[in-house]
């Protein structure tokens, strides 16, 4: 059961969030995208992978029967974009979940325990951040057989460093606060202090970073799939759909354009919501 106070706090955050028109637009887009991804089997007019009479059905421009046209195998782009949303969004959500879990754990340990452990962990973060992410991704993926699970894991493993820095900084601030001293004086153990008193007070920026990070993750997944290192055809992902249409870009623009737009809108939607959340969760900021 939610306490009255918690409900009120939630309501206040929602009120501040609502003032951001763009954030609301972003949220609506995310709801629409997630909804259609979930309902893809019901909405999609065609089987996304079915190929029948390729010669007759391929490279059809958008029309009533194929609202986004067909690709070079005669597959319905609209259906594939819907199914691609399932893949791209779930990779995005799962990978960011891995990233924030890792980032929060490592950042919290570094900030809370400090000393050599902190130095070692943060040097490691600096080192990882000194490589461009795409290079890390390509190297890691190239070592193994490409699969959706691998892509998700690798995106998560390369996406936590920023979060860990944020969390470490927050923990350093919060651990000096008097309520933490109070907890020590009351004889609470270190694990309890970290988990129950420090972490809940550093989560706001983590939520914001996670929301902003989903967009990036989806973009990175698209890039990998575009390079042929991510989701493997025939399974549709927005990245490999764009890749598959790049030879025919001028003659059959729709093959690349629609999944491309899906990527752009999704990334934008998460960034808008992230910005709105940042303002709404921080009462000191005036929207």
């Amino acid at each position: 059961m939610l306490s009255r106070a918690r409900r009120e706090r939630g309501r206040e955050t929602w009120r501040r969030f609502r003032r951001h028109r763009q954030a609301i637009l972003g949220l609506a887009l995310i709801v629409l995208l997630t909804g259609s991804a979930l309902l893809a089997p019901a909405i999609a007019p065609y089987d996304p992978d079915a190929q029948t009479d390729i010669v007759a059905t391929r490279y059809q421009a958008p029309s009533v029967s194929h609202p986004m046209g067909t690709d070079r195998f005669g597959r319905d782009i609209f259906s594939r974009t819907l199914y691609g949303a399932r893949i791209s969004l779930s990779i995005g959500f799962l990978a960011i979940l891995i990233a924030i879990t890792l980032g929060t754990a490592i950042g919290a340990i570094a900030g809370f325990f400090g000393g050599r452990l902190d130095t070692a962990l943060m040097r490691g973060v600096d080192l990882l951040l000194s490589f461009p992410r795409l290079v890390l991704l390509v190297v890691l993926v190239a070592l193994f057989e490409p699969s959706i699970a691998l892509v998700t894991l690798v995106l998560g493993l390369t996406g936590w460093m920023g979060v860990s820095r944020i969390v470490r900084g927050q923990v350093l601030t919060v651990r000096e606060m008097e309520f933490v001293t109070a907890a020590r004086v009351l004889g609470f153990g270190r694990t309890r202090i970290l988990a129950r008193h420090i972490l809940p007070n550093v989560l706001t920026p983590v939520i914001v970073a996670a929301t902003l990070g989903i967009g990036n993750t989806i973009l990175a997944e698209a890039a990998l799939s575009f390079l042929g290192l991510g989701v493997q055809p025939p399974t549709a992902s927005w990245g490999n759909m764009v890749a598959s249409g790049r030879d025919a870009m001028l003659d059959a623009w729709w093959i690349t354009t629609f999944p491309g737009l899906a990527i752009v809108f999704t990334v934008m939607a998460f960034n808008l919501v992230g910005d709105g959340l940042r303002d709404a969760l921080d009462p000191r900021r005036v929207a």
């Binding site: 918690r6 008097e178 309520f179 001293t181 907890a183 009351l186 004889g187 609470f188 809940p200």
Partner: protein, 335 residues
């Protein structure tokens, strides 16, 4: 002497009712000065004090004189550079885990800042309940009853349990902090400027609450304040601190009536109170160069001292804290 607080326990003090005791406490901080040069700040030096059962010892001094550092050392929040803290005769530095946990139950801290000292993400009931659960003091239905009881002790209604700290005023938050400290049934409470962050109108209420709780629960207080006015109505004994050292200590009535150390007098002068007329004579000028360039020798108060008898002698050696009459200590060679 007042009886055991709620949930009585075997008294085990065989040393004249001394609960918490500091002996020769010192705490140095290394701070890096300009160009990386390391400077040592002696925040606390040679502090000895005893908190007796049921009494209020006030520790008074201006900002930065080392009061909070003394409190942190007494609470075992940081180790002293030298000296010892003892609780019921047991050295804090050599306590086992179980002994330390017991110490945490018996000695509690109340903070100055009513905003920073409460976890903003926890309801008041959550905070109190956590203390009760960690120390296995009350479970199930009993826990809810105890929370209500604790809130009642500090003058808050049971509905406060459901709320978050930001929904309360400064004075109410201070009450919550006190309730949290009381949850473990302590016998000593170190209160570090518990009212200095509050409106003057609220200060009296919180002071009354503390006095009332002392009477009902038989608590001992170390009451820290930066002026003597606040302490007047609560203190049994007063220790005055200057630059990390105790410069005067005595029972409260004597100290207010007849302060000895020039610093205590200046503090009392800040409280509306006439400076003794005999002291109004012109303060003699010190000879040039008499103020020692090295502050480690001589009286640390020399530069600010308005004592009529102040002279070069004061710059020769650090005055010792001497007992002038039973229970009256002063660190000044001219009084």
């Amino acid at each position: 002497m007042i009886e055991e607080p709620v949930g009585g326990r075997a008294a085990s003090e065989g040393n004249g009712g001394v609960l918490l005791e500091a002996e020769g406490l010192a705490r140095h901080y290394a701070s890096s000065g300009p160009w990386g040069a390391e400077r040592k700040t002696a925040a606390v030096q040679d502090v000895s004090l005893r908190i007796l059962r049921g009494e209020t010892l006030a520790l008074v001094g201006e900002s930065g004189c080392g009061k909070s550092t003394t409190a942190r050392l007494l609470m075992g929040l940081e180790p002293p550079t030298s000296g010892t803290v003892r609780y019921r005769g047991r050295d804090l530095g050599s306590m086992s885990r179980t002994e330390l946990l017991e110490f945490r139950r018996r000695v509690q801290l109340v903070f100055q800042d009513p905003f920073g000292s409460l976890n903003p993400r926890m309801t008041v009931g959550g905070m109190l309940g956590e203390v009760l659960s960690v120390h296995a003091l009350a479970a199930g239905e009993e826990r809810g009853r105890r929370i209500t009881e604790l809130l009642g002790l500090v003058g808050l209604g049971p509905e406060a349990a459901e709320r978050y700290p930001h929904e309360f005023s400064g004075g109410q938050r201070q009450r919550i902090g006190i309730a949290r400290a009381l949850a473990v049934e302590p016998d000593v409470i170190v209160a570090d400027e518990p009212v200095s962050a509050l409106d003057v109108s609220i200060q009296a209420q919180v002071l009354n609450l503390l006095a009332d709780l002392q009477e009902r629960l038989g608590l001992s207080y170390l009451f820290i304040a930066h002026d003597l006015a606040v302490v007047r109505q609560v203190a049994d004994r007063v220790a005055v601190m200057y630059m990390g050292r105790i410069v005067e200590a005595s029972d409260a009535a004597t100290l207010y009536h007849e302060p000895l150390h020039p610093y205590t007098r200046s503090l009392l002068a800040a409280v509306p109170r006439p400076w003794p007329p005999s002291e109004k004579r012109r303060v003699p000028e010190l000879r040039e160069g008499a103020d020692p360039p090295d502050r480690s020798t001589g009286c640390p108060y020399l530069g600010r001292c308005r004592h009529p008898a102040r002279d070069e002698e004061c710059s020769l050696a650090l005055p010792l804290l001497e007992e002038r009459s039973p229970g009256r200590w002063v660190r000044c060679i001219k009084t």
